[in-house]
């Protein structure tokens, strides 16, 4: 994949493909999950052919999602480790929300908000996977007691609502911060974007002469 001259690679092709598989699964799971959660959303079952089809597809989408998310986790966890910069950034959240980003302390590849999204999903999705297995009627309906399944379905619903709330934040942030969508669709950002939103990441790339997304990946590339 070639990127426009003078730009910085924010997300590799692998990351992007991986992200959108996860995203597609998540959206379909949200639509089918909400349809099975609240009657006002039941009409969404028509998107899947019928209620029966939706019920049959939902768990398979979940299995795909968890595998896909594992790929994202492996690619992203290191840059999502919490550090001192995040505390400083979080303290300036009011300025962030007000678009006065010049006054906000610089951060690395991800800011505290993005890290909360990452770890929130990393925590909730496995819980949804496990509780989802327990209430997967076709294969595991008889595997556990009904009481266990009652607990599982309650946790599954709670977790799903949590994940959807995080997802709304994630999507809105991508719409709000211009250039983010392109970063995940086509992979690149302008140097100004990187400087404005992720200055320490930008400076690290400049210092190592790396085209992005991380200095490490370039270092490995250079060995060959």
């Amino acid at each position: 994949m070639s990127y426009p001259k003078g730009t910085i690679v924010r997300n590799s092709t692998l990351t992007r493909v991986n992200h959108w598989i996860t995203g597609l699964c998540f959206v379909l799971l949200t639509l089918s999950g909400l349809a099975m959660f609240h009657p006002v959303f039941f009409w969404l079952s028509n998107l899947f052919g019928s209620g029966q089809w939706m019920r049959a597809l939902h768990p398979w989408l979940g299995v795909t999602l968890i595998v896909s998310f594992l790929g994202l986790f492996i690619q992203f966890w290191r840059d999502n480790l919490w550090n001192r910069d995040d505390v400083e950034w979080a303290k300036s959240l009011d300025k962030v929300l007000d678009n006065r980003e010049e006054e906000v302390p610089p951060v690395g590849r991800f800011n505290a908000g993005q890290k909360v999204v990452f770890w929130g999903m990393a925590l909730i999705l496995p819980v949804l996977f496990v509780t989802g297995i327990l209430i997967w009627e076709v294969y595991f309906g008889g595997a556990t007691s009904i009481e266990t399944q009652r607990v599982a379905v309650l946790i599954h619903s709670l977790g799903a609502i949590g994940a959807i709330l995080i997802w709304i934040t994630h999507v809105y942030a991508a719409i709000w911060v211009k250039g983010s969508m392109r970063a995940m669709l086509h992979g690149w950002v302008t140097p100004g974007w990187a400087h404005r939103h992720h200055r320490k990441w930008f400076q690290r790339l400049v210092a190592t002469g790396s085209p992005g997304p991380t200095p490490d990946s370039t270092a490995k590339f250079r060995e060959h």
């Binding site: 349809a35 039941f42 029966q52 009904i146 379905v153 719409i175 302008t190 100004g192 400087h195 210092a207």
Partner: protein, 307 residues
């Protein structure tokens, strides 16, 4: 299927609107199972299979007369046999016809996410409308009596219909019609309670001091009731729940979380929209690009100075 009409619904699963009920002079019905008169012949079990065209697999003998060993998608009613030794050391054979209790407050209906897959008619019968069933198994979690079973063939949930198709045209359920001892009676709920009262008085005369009617108020009463000789200990009868109630977990899930979650999601979406129109987009400016270019050139100069 000779279905009762939708105007007769008083409850409909996953539906926020109350169904219309034009015909409001509907008598509440009940099936009364007098355990003390049951001889365990299983005629009711056979009649149920015959009327509903069910042919469940015969299972192996496991030391008791139960066969199959549990309710299943093709066994909507099952004779359960329990051997009980009372205080005097006498053996009592407690035989109970198990099946849907047709709760006044049905947990299955409360849990069901598919609109109209579970309905309750004005006469009190709780019915599964199979064409609307999606096979999720939520009714199993909602039921306090462990009754619904999901078919592995068509992935739909099945249970006793109280022969709603027969009752709809003025006939009694098949099990009632076939019972040779009159242990199963059918009629208006009030009549059944009166009849049960007489039977209970007789049982008490015979020495069953704790004889009584099983019509558990925790689920608003049921439209299938038992006359028990040991009404103080229903669990003696192959685990009939002493105090059946819709699980608090199901209440939290369907009662509390549903509206709360909807409000939370709406709040999040509206907040995002409000932020968008108040603060607007966060855009990278030409000044940002200039600052970035300056840093990149500085780094390049330092790099070339080193080499």
């Amino acid at each position: 299927m000779a279905d009762l009409q939708s105007q007769d619904y008083i409850r409909r699963s996953a539906t926020n609107l109350t169904p219309p009920s034009v015909r409001h002079h509907e008598l509440e019905v009940a099936k009364l199972i007098d355990v003390s008169r049951c001889i365990g012949c299983k005629a009711c079990q056979s009649a149920c299979m015959e009327w509903n065209n069910l042919r469940p697999e015969m299972e192996e003998f496991n030391g008791a007369y139960e066969n199959p060993h549990d309710l299943n998608p093709g066994t909507w009613t099952l004779m359960r046999f329990a051997e009980y030794e009372d205080e005097q050391g006498n053996l009592e054979w407690l035989i109970r016809k198990d099946g849907c209790m047709h709760c006044e407050d049905p947990g299955c209906l409360k849990a069901c996410p598919a609109p109209g897959a579970i309905v309750q008619y004005a006469n009190g019968i709780v019915d599964f409308i199979s064409e609307n069933c999606i096979g999720c198994g939520y009714c199993v979690k909602g039921c306090p009596f462990n009754i619904p079973r999901i078919s592995a063939q068509d992935h739909k949930s099945y249970k006793c219909t109280l022969c709603s198709d027969r009752v709809g045209v003025g006939l009694e359920p098949a099990c009632v019609k076939t019972c040779p001892t009159g242990a199963i009676m059918f009629g208006s709920k009030d009549d059944m309670k009166d009849w049960a009262g007489e039977r209970i008085a007789e049982l008490k005369e015979r020495g069953f001091q704790n004889a009584g009617l099983y019509d558990p108020p925790e689920v608003g009463g049921t439209h299938v009731m038992y006359v028990l000789h040991h009404a103080d200990k229903p669990s003696l009868y192959s685990g009939l729940p002493d105090k059946p109630h819709i699980s608090a977990l199901v209440g939290a899930w369907k009662g509390v979380l549903k509206p709360l979650a909807l409000a939370g999601l709406a709040f999040a979406a509206v907040s995002a929209f409000v932020h968008s129109i108040v603060s607007g987009p966060n855009e990278t400016t030409e000044a940002d690009e200039a600052r970035a270019r300056a840093e990149m050139e500085k780094a390049k100069r330092n790099g070339s100075a080193e080499s």
